[in-house]
Structure formats: structure tokens, C-alpha cells
């Protein structure tokens, strides 16, 4: 048991799983000697060698496309995309191939690959280093999408993702890469994909979030002084509707919080599902506290864009007052 940051927890998970399973290959830009631009793969090149931790050409479609081939051949590639803003060039390989291979071939070929991608804003980064495209990939059938909000979860979810027989995009919220530490067992443990975590219980309102926003939610709840149940989704697809419905059936009110733009963000899906499944329990319309329907601004204005404690708090008050 050690007190680790999220970066360290992921690094530990990678080390342990690579020791256990030599089908795992890491590939991506700067993942080798440099240990990745966030140092998530620090030390792995030295430990496992250049054939298992591979600095690739600067080409995201190439990284994902070759990883698909590696996976089709039975290996367990873990490609890294340096920032979520650079997933774009790989969109086609992810959605036209990785997600479709099992269906296309009736299972003759599968793509057991885990795509690691730092995600989200709040770190004063340049353009296209602060976006949140999780809904894009949640809309693609055949793709699983995971986003941990704590070091403990990161390790357990990453192991599940790596062992999953299907492609998983593993989003790592960079704002909390080193924001806090948590006890993370040395021992192997997994957290199942598709299961949410109740961060704190409450009976007045259900708040649903994921990734770095969970921290903002916790702060907002504390400030509010109200009895709010906070659900950290952990998996975006397939998401844990059972946990959400159970909570909202109890509280009758819900607020969803995410960084991505509002329109067609994953909040829309959750809000709709809540309406569908908890219609008669709902005392107020589900509220969305999200990024605006505008481009994620350069960093001078990024905190005006991101759903911060104050905006979340207001939504809680308004929903409770409804």
C-alpha cells in the first residue's frame, strides 16, 4: 500500500500488468526514454526494453491502426495518444475499425486494445490540450469508454481495461494527474467496467459526474451544506444506469456535471435515461452543468468555461428549490 498520485497509480498498474502478461506492448509518441510527456510511462522503457515500450512515429492514425493489427494478431497493445485533442486523426481507425472488427467478422477477429489518453482542461495548456471528447466515443457502438477520478480507481480500472477483450478508451483526467494522492494497494485488484462509485451518500439530490469534475462536485457539495449523493460514473460506456436510477428514485432530483460542451454531451444521455427510468420520481428537471456550446478557450478564460464549484452550487440550489 502506497500513497500515490494518479500518474503513479497508472504507472504501477502498467508495470504489474506488463510483468504478468508479455502480450502487452506500449506504443506512442515519447512513451519510451522520455516516459511520456506526463511521465506516466516513466521507467518502463528501461525496465521492459524498446521492443515493449515503443516510441512511434508522430502519427495518431498510425498508432491506433497498427495497434489494431497487433491486437488482431492476439497481442494486447496499449497505445497512448498524447492529448485528447490529437485523437482526431485516429477517429477513423477507432470508429471504422477498432469498434467494428468483432461485429464485422462475427468474432473471428477482435481488438483487445486499451487506448490511454490524457483528457480535460484546467492545466493552463495550449489549444487542443484541454478538451473532453468522451461523448464522441460513447456514441460509437463497440467502444468502451472509461475515466477514473482517483488514483485507486485508475489502477483498478486500467487493469480491467487491459484485460477486456474489446477496445477501451481510457481517459486520464490530466487536471488530477498529480493533484492529490491516495492509498493504492500494491496487490492486484480490478474495478469492473460499467460500475459507478457512490462518492458520498445523500437524499436530497443526486449529482452525477466523472473525471476531474468529481473534485469540483465534492467541493460544491461541501459548500452547499445539502445532502447530495455524488455518483462518480467511472465508466462512460457502458454506464451504470442502475446506480443512477437507484439514487434518483430516492432523491427525485439530479444534476449532471461534465467539462464537455452541453449539446450532445454525455449529460444529455444521462438526463434522458433518468427521465425515461425515473419519470414519476422526478421532482425537478435534471440539470446539466457543463462546458458551454463554444470552443474550449485558450487558458486565460478556461476557468470561465469549465463547470466550477460556483456554477455547480447554483444548480444544486435551483434544483432543490424547484
Amino acid at each position: 500500500m502506497a500513497n500515490l498520485t494518479l500518474v503513479q497509480a497508472i504507472n504501477l498498474a502498467l508495470v504489474q500488468e506488463m510483468e504478468r502478461d508479455d502480450r502487452i506492448i506500449l506504443l506512442g509518441e515519447d512513451v519510451g526514454l522520455n516516459g511520456g510527456v506526463f511521465r506516466v510511462t516513466e521507467g518502463l522503457h528501461k525496465r521492459f526494453g524498446g521492443h515493449r515500450v515503443v516510441d512511434s512515429p508522430l502519427a495518431e492514425s498510425g498508432i491506433i491502426g497498427t495497434a489494431i493489427g497487433l491486437a488482431m494478431a492476439g497481442l494486447r497493445p496499449i497505445p497512448e495518444i498524447q492529448f485528447e485533442g490529437f485523437l482526431g486523426p485516429a477517429y477513423d481507425q477507432l470508429c471504422s475499425h477498432a469498434a467494428r472488427m468483432r461485429t464485422r467478422t462475427r468474432g473471428a477477429f477482435t481488438v483487445p486494445m486499451t487506448v490511454r489518453v490524457p483528457v480535460g482542461g484546467g492545466i493552463h495548456a495550449p489549444e487542443l490540450h484541454s478538451d473532453s471528447p468522451e461523448a464522441i466515443y460513447a456514441h460509437q457502438p463497440g467502444m468502451k469508454v472509461v475515466m477514473p477520478a482517483s488514483p485507486y480507481d485508475a489502477k483498478g480500472l486500467l487493469l480491467s481495461a487491459i484485460r477486456d477483450p474489446d477496445p477501451v478508451i481510457f481517459f486520464e483526467p490530466k487536471r488530477i494527474y498529480r493533484a492529490f494522492r491516495e492509498e493504492v494497494p500494491e496487490d492486484e485488484y480490478t474495478i469492473p467496467i460499467g460500475k459507478a462509485r457512490v462518492v458520498c451518500e445523500g437524499d436530497e439530490l443526486t449529482m452525477i459526474s466523472w473525471g476531474a469534475s468529481v473534485i469540483q462536485c465534492m467541493q460544491a457539495i461541501e459548500k452547499s451544506g445539502r445532502s447530495v449523493e455524488l455518483i462518480d460514473l467511472r465508466t462512460i460506456y457502458p454506464f451504470d444506469m442502475e446506480a443512477v436510477a437507484a439514487s434518483v428514485s430516492k432523491t427525485g432530483r439530479a444534476v449532471v456535471v461534465h467539462e464537455a460542451p452541453r449539446t450532445c454531451g454525455f449529460g444529455a444521455e444521462i438526463a434522458t435515461r433518468i427521465m425515461e427510468e425515473c419519470f414519476l420520481s422526478l421532482e425537478a428537471p435534471v440539470q446539466r452543468v457543463t462546458g458551454f456550446d463554444t470552443i474550449m478557450p485558450y487558458y486565460k478564460l478556461e476557468l470561465e468555461y469549465l463547470p466550477e464549484t460556483e456554477r455547480i452550487g447554483l444548480a444544486v440550489e435551483e434544483t432543490l428549490a424547484y
Binding site: 512515429p57 492514425s61 498510425g62 493489427g69 497481442l75 481507425q93 475499425h97 467478422t105 462475427r106 428514485s249
Partner: protein, 374 residues
């Protein structure tokens, strides 16, 4: 010297059995024994006949869009012939001849074009990936497959097929670049048939040769007559050796021509001259191979007649098997999305509905008065 030469190179063109029946016996030495030559000729003839039958199936509404391979049979066939049975074939959609030679049942390809995914469930022991619809994307998979073999220390390589149009896609570049810089055992076999649907080759590549695409990566590259079974066999054999022994990729431009329309949805008369087609009809790989066989006294008209009957039986059998398969169950829409279906897909599968009220009580959802899970 302030201006000096930084790089210098040449690219070869290989031809062994040309359109005039000229045959370079020396270059052909040891490439294809006569027995195999007969088998290959028979195989091409069957493939050619499949094209005719498939065309009619499409026209009579028994099959969807189909891309004829007519005229290009030699390329993929020669490659499949010289490769090991465990080398990966990573095709586009004009490689029937190569795939069938490897052992993919003909009905698989028919099923694919009949809108049935079962046509893609190619047994893994055949080491063939399914036909690729999005152009230019499959070469990256070939690079990954080859990489996996190298990682495991196996002597397996990958050979991927694509058209001239495909070389315009960014993924082509990335695949070539990964293979060259990471030393992956891949053979990139471009079938330059001069057209990408209606767009002429010069819009895809205005360089004197397509082969020189490979120079960008410091890759060995070569051009050959793609309608010449021997030439393709020779360059692929050398490329395979380069891959297997040195783990280095090769880029091959096989010059060929599609004698038919792009697909059954296309009408090539809109954009190309009959004169050009006629020119290439004379360069048909079947014609020149038949000529050689006759010259070698291995072939005659009665054998040809027998062969045509054989082809008809073969293709008819495949069509029968493809059409005879039971209709896919609706559950097939759901069952292969993941290894284990999530609750939401399971519910959609069970109810065949997406509306939440409709999902509450199986297939014929009753009009439940109450909402969700409360």
C-alpha cells in the same frame, strides 16, 4: 562543394511474360513449375467466371453492389502463390484470386457482397483479414500484424493489397512510414489499375511511377507488370525474403487494369475511352498465360472447354452455398458488439426496442402505465 548530391536512386521495372507472349525463361527460372502453372491458370479462369456470375446476380437483385476483379487476377494470385500459407493476406476487394488460392471459400466473398457479415468470419488459420471497405485503411493493420509476428520472433510476414487511389490516403503514408522506420516485415502491393472509380491515376499520383512512393521511406521499391504472373511472383518472392530475413518492408507497384466497371453501381463509359479498355483487353493476364501454356504444349481447346465447365460448376456451387445459408437471425444485430453484452444492449436485444416504455416487457411491449425503475 556547396552543391552536392544528397541522394541518388533508380527503380526497376520487371516483366517476364509480356503481352506479346515474349517470355524471359531465364528470369522465370525456378519461379513456377509447370504443374502449378496449370493450376494457377485454372484458378484464374474460375475467378473470372465468378465475376460474370456475380455481375448477373447483382443485376437480378440477388446480390448488392459487387466489384469485378476482371483483368487483375494475376496480381493477388501470384502473391498468394509465392507466400507461405501462414503469411497474412490483408486485402482490399479486388483480390478474389489470391484469397481463394489461400483457401477462403468462394461463398465467403459472395456473402460479403450479399450484405452478410458471415462472409467476413474467415477462419483464423487462413491468415486472411476480411475485405476492407474504407479505402487505404487496412495497410496499417497489416503493419500491426507483421509487427506482432516480429515481436513474437516468428518468421511470419504480412502482404497487403490496395489500389492506386488508396495511396492518396494519409493512412497509406502512415503505414509505409511505420513499416519502414520500425522495420516491419510487410509487403505493400499496390495494384495500379489507373482508375479510382472515375478519377484517373494522375490525380492520385502525378509522379512518373507509383513505385517511387516507396522512396519517401527509404523503402525498397519496384515496379512490375501486374498482369504478368511471373513478374509479380518474382518481385513478391524477393520482397517476402527481404521481409522474412531482414524484417524490411517493400513497396511494389503492379501495373494492371480493371477491365470491368468499378463496381456494378458504376458505368465506366461515362469517364473512360473504349480504346483504352481494348488496349488492356489485349494485355489480359489470362490470354498471355494461356498462350504460354499452349506454347508449352500444356494446353488445348478441349482442356479449355473442360475448364469452363469446371468453372461453372465451381461457381454455381459457391452461389448455391451462399444463397442456401439460413437468413441471419435478428439477434445477430446485437450479439457481436462486445464479447459480453452490456445490460443496455441485452435489453435492446430482448425487446427489439429503444424506447424506454417499449423496453419494459419483452418483444410485444404492453402499454405499461408506470415509468422506470421506481
Amino acid at each position: 562543394m556547396p552543391i552536392k548530391t544528397a541522394f541518388k536512386t533508380e527503380i526497376e521495372h520487371v516483366s517476364i511474360l509480356d503481352e506479346h507472349g515474349q517470355f524471359d525463361a531465364k528470369l522465370a527460372e525456378g519461379l513456377i513449375p509447370d504443374d502449378d502453372l496449370l493450376a494457377l491458370y485454372r484458378h484464374m479462369t474460375v475467378c473470372r467466371h465468378l465475376d460474370e456470375v456475380a455481375f448477373k446476380l447483382q443485376r437480378s437483385g440477388r446480390m448488392g453492389t459487387y466489384p469485378q476483379n476482371m483483368g487483375q487476377e494475376a496480381t493477388s494470385l501470384a502473391a498468394a502463390y509465392v507466400l507461405e500459407k501462414t503469411d497474412w493476406l490483408v486485402p482490399c476487394y479486388r483480390e478474389n484470386a489470391g484469397l481463394f488460392w489461400r483457401g477462403v471459400p468462394m461463398e465467403y466473398v459472395l456473402l460479403h457482397w450479399m450484405g452478410d457479415e458471415r462472409g467476413n468470419a474467415i477462419p483464423r488459420e487462413l491468415f486472411c483479414t476480411p475485405l476492407a471497405i474504407p479505402i487505404g485503411t487496412q495497410m496499417l493493420h497489416a503493419a500491426g500484424l507483421a509487427w506482432a509476428a516480429k515481436y513474437r520472433g516468428e518468421k511470419q510476414i504480412a502482404c497487403t493489397f490496395f489500389g492506386d487511389g488508396a495511396t492518396s490516403e494519409g493512412d497509406f503514408h502512415e503505414a509505409m512510414n511505420f513499416a519502414a522506420n520500425l522495420d516491419l516485415p510487410v509487403v505493400f502491393l499496390c495494384q495500379n489499375n489507373f482508375w479510382a472509380i472515375s478519377v484517373p491515376g494522375k490525380i492520385q499520383c502525378s509522379a512518373p511511377t507509383l513505385a517511387q512512393r516507396g522512396l519517401a521511406y527509404g523503402m525498397h521499391c519496384v515496379q512490375c507488370d501486374g498482369n504478368d504472373l511471373f513478374a509479380v511472383a518474382k518481385v513478391v518472392k524477393e520482397a517476402a525474403a527481404r521481409a522474412r530475413e531482414q524484417s524490411r518492408p517493400t513497396f511494389i507497384e503492379a501495373v494492371t487494369y480493371r477491365l470491368g466497371d468499378h463496381t456494378t453501381a458504376d458505368d465506366a463509359r461515362r469517364y473512360r475511352d473504349q480504346a483504352e479498355v481494348d488496349l488492356w483487353k489485349a494485355r489480359d493476364p489470362l490470354i498471355r498465360l494461356r498462350g504460354l501454356l499452349k506454347e508449352k504444349k500444356l494446353w488445348n481447346d478441349s482442356k479449355e472447354a473442360e475448364l469452363l465447365e469446371f468453372a461453372e460448376r465451381e461457381v454455381a456451387g459457391a452461389v448455391q452455398r451462399a444463397e442456401g445459408i439460413e437468413a441471419p437471425a435478428t439477434t445477430e444485430v446485437f450479439d457481436h458488439t462486445f464479447a459480453t453484452l452490456d445490460p443496455q444492449i441485452l435489453k435492446q436485444r430482448e425487446t427489439r426496442r429503444t424506447s424506454s416504455l417499449g423496453q419494459q416487457s419483452g418483444r410485444s411491449a404492453s402499454h405499461a402505465p408506470a415509468g422506470g425503475s421506481h
